[in-house]
Symmetry: C2
Subunit: 188 residues, 2 copies
DNA sequence: CTGATAAGTTCCCTTAAGGAACTCGATGCG
DNA sequence: CGCATCGAGTTCCTTAAGGGAACTTATCAG
């Protein structure tokens, strides 16, 4: 099938989906972050083909999203746990869950709820601005080129488009307000 | 290939990924929400097979995520625009983008940045608790069963697991704090 | 010794993704 | 008037990824 590789596209969504967009990958992460880490449990919970599960788990370990850990020596037993990189996928899952709850829960209501231990309430995720805390929506934000942007496969049209937006801003409007991002690990 | 259908699983992540987990679907939504709506533009920007693009767009229109709109009569020309349901996928894209920025941006930095028009700053998304505004992480939250929860394919193991957690809470700990969710549209 | 459990592998078959060419209606242009 | 062009798909062929089910290997319980 030679699926188009997306890891090299100059777009973080493309890079993230290249690994993550697989339906199984999302559900595997859901399970692992919820505490289901054994191969057989995952296979049984998801009803996934064992062959595909093997492939997904290998990929996730290669990418450093999961780690394979021996949790018992005799008999030797392994389990998969999320690394920091894996745990940071949680907002993606929360965002997906929220959307699914809102548009597909139907009459019976959502299948699960999230309990925030810190404030001891059932809650939902809000996409908040890291600066002002207000809600971020497609309407109150715009996309501008970043330092790693370029035009190429996957950004053939969108690259020039957002570049033209930047040109319409006052020249150094953003000279001194970089986005607050955590320490960035070395990319691959 | 008979891909396992995930729409019927009692899990909002499964339901959401069933539609959304396709890599192309995410990138199509990125483009449409950024203002790229024409068939040829999408095909060219993404480098996607036109056949697959047709299939994805049809699916997205069927699901009510996109709408096909005639933007010019003579000659007749159509374009795709996001519905409310589609615009609400934005947090999912932001979460994916964030994660991709953090783990795959490398030396050159992220390919794009998000400008928050309301506070006029470049920003990133934070997954915030709808109640207290604090950051939600895999570590400070727990999953509990919701009204629509059940054990079945896709939740064979995880269903009973989170149900057992609920049993360990004080009986009516959450009797009066339902999650704040917007008006829920009728499911399908 | 038999059976069960965990964690994968192997094999075959179907189907979806890629790629490239082709269609079809409506202009635009010389 | 005739030809090229553009937008928006459709068709055809090949390849490879997913599903299903059986098989393997290692370890322990009874």
């Amino acid at each position: 099938m030679t699926r188009t590789p997306l890891a090299d596209v100059a777009c973080s969504i493309a890079r993230a989906t290249d690994l993550f967009s697989d339906a199984w990958t999302a559900l595997i992460m859901r399970d692992v972050l919820t505490g289901i880490g054994r191969f057989d449990e995952l296979a049984r919970d998801l009803g996934i083909s064992r062959k595909v599960l093997t492939a997904r788990l290998s990929r996730l370990v290669e990418e450093g999203v999961l780690a394979r850990e021996r949790y018992q020596e005799r008999p030797p037993r392994e389990r998969y746990i999320a690394t920091e990189k894996g745990r940071e996928l949680y907002p993606v899952l929360l965002a997906l869950m929220n959307w699914g709850d809102r548009w597909y829960a139907g009459e019976t209501g959502p299948p699960a709820r999230i309990h925030h231990l810190t404030c001891d309430r059932d809650t939902t995720m809000v996409a908040a601005c890291a600066h002002c805390g207000e809600r971020l929506t497609a309407d109150n934000t715009t996309q501008l080129p970043g330092p790693g942007g370029r035009t190429g496969p996957g950004t053939e049209v969108i690259g020039p488009l957002i570049a033209s937006r930047a040109a319409q801003q006052t020249p150094d409007a953003n000279a001194s307000n970089n986005p607050p991002s955590g320490p960035r690990p070395p990319g691959r």
